[in-house]
Symmetry: C2
Subunit: 184 residues, 2 copies
């Protein structure tokens, strides 16, 4: 492994990082040049995990993802919230975002797009389908990593108006999950 | 209006309640019988709002939503987190969930499914498309309501393991939204 703090997350558990709906950094690579976009429009489609991400043709990453059919979904914690927002406010067309935001690309196992060392979780994904009319990229997670030594574990969510909400209190309601006990 | 605390949310602002990825109560109605399911697999597909919800054929609401093509997406705040989880752990097949969980159905404006009085936000939706292979229901919000007098405004997110995270600190980063200033 390329970074000693990264531990593998079993794939059947990886959906747990997408389900809460955090802001995600979507990393692509084209001709060896990595790029990052900030994404809030994501959804679980199935366990495994199968993840849907909605991009716009106006996003610089859109055509790259269409062409390369692979990416990394990197989940930032609250320690880099400003960087994540700024990444979403410039374009890979004229910006090397890893350099500009002092982020470290790490070689992934299954895809050419790099992991982001500074993120809490990184999920390597293969695009399996594209629903063109909605810009919906269906992707399968093929490898997932967590930074097990990271002290900041709170993720954050976009409110859509330039404000963001950071994870607060965690409520354990496993005892109420009578129908879904196998997931607890 | 049926409930004096409910104020209309302009439709162009309604996406802001879906974007953070909260747990949602999806309300349907079949032959005058309302039902509720708990849903965490949702996504914004476009502003307006166009919202995608992934259901499983195993969900009792799946066929009803396919048939009636309308629903209410009700967003609970943290004051009813236990109820929301319990609603997701029983079936409308043999349970009147409004009665069992002491929730109050309110007549909606555009759809037969009722609003839930105890929720922070209610979005009336029309299903415009169904992507069968993924159980993805594409719906358009046609009317949205907020309980303007509700003191508990924190929503919550499913971690997928029987724990839930309640909204914490709100971070205002509007000054960094240089590219998306029109949304701030």
């Amino acid at each position: 492994m390329r970074y000693h703090n990264f531990a593998e997350v079993p794939l059947y558990k990886a959906f747990e990082f997408i389900e809460p709906g955090p802001v995600i950094l979507l990393v692509t690579s084209e001709d060896g040049k990595p790029n990052i976009m900030t994404l809030s429009w994501s959804v679980l489609i199935d366990f495994d995990p199968i993840i849907g991400c909605v991009l716009s043709p106006g996003d610089y990453s859109y055509e790259i993802l269409r062409k390369t059919k692979e990416c990394v979904l990197a989940i930032p914690a609250a320690d880099i919230i400003e960087k994540a927002v700024q990444i979403g406010n410039c374009s890979g067309e004229d910006t090397d975002k890893f350099q500009k935001f002092a982020l470290s690309p790490l070689k992934a196992s299954h895809v050419k797009a790099p992991l982001i060392k500074e993120c809490l979780v990184n999920i390597e994904c293969i695009v399996t389908d594209i629903i063109d009319k909605y810009g919906l990229f269906v992707m399968e997670g093929v490898k997932a990593w967590i930074d097990k030594d990271k002290s900041e574990k709170r993720t954050f969510h976009a409110n859509g108006d330039g404000t963001f909400v950071i994870d607060g209190e965690i409520k354990n309601l496993k005892h109420l999950m009578t129908k879904w006990q196998q997931f607890t």
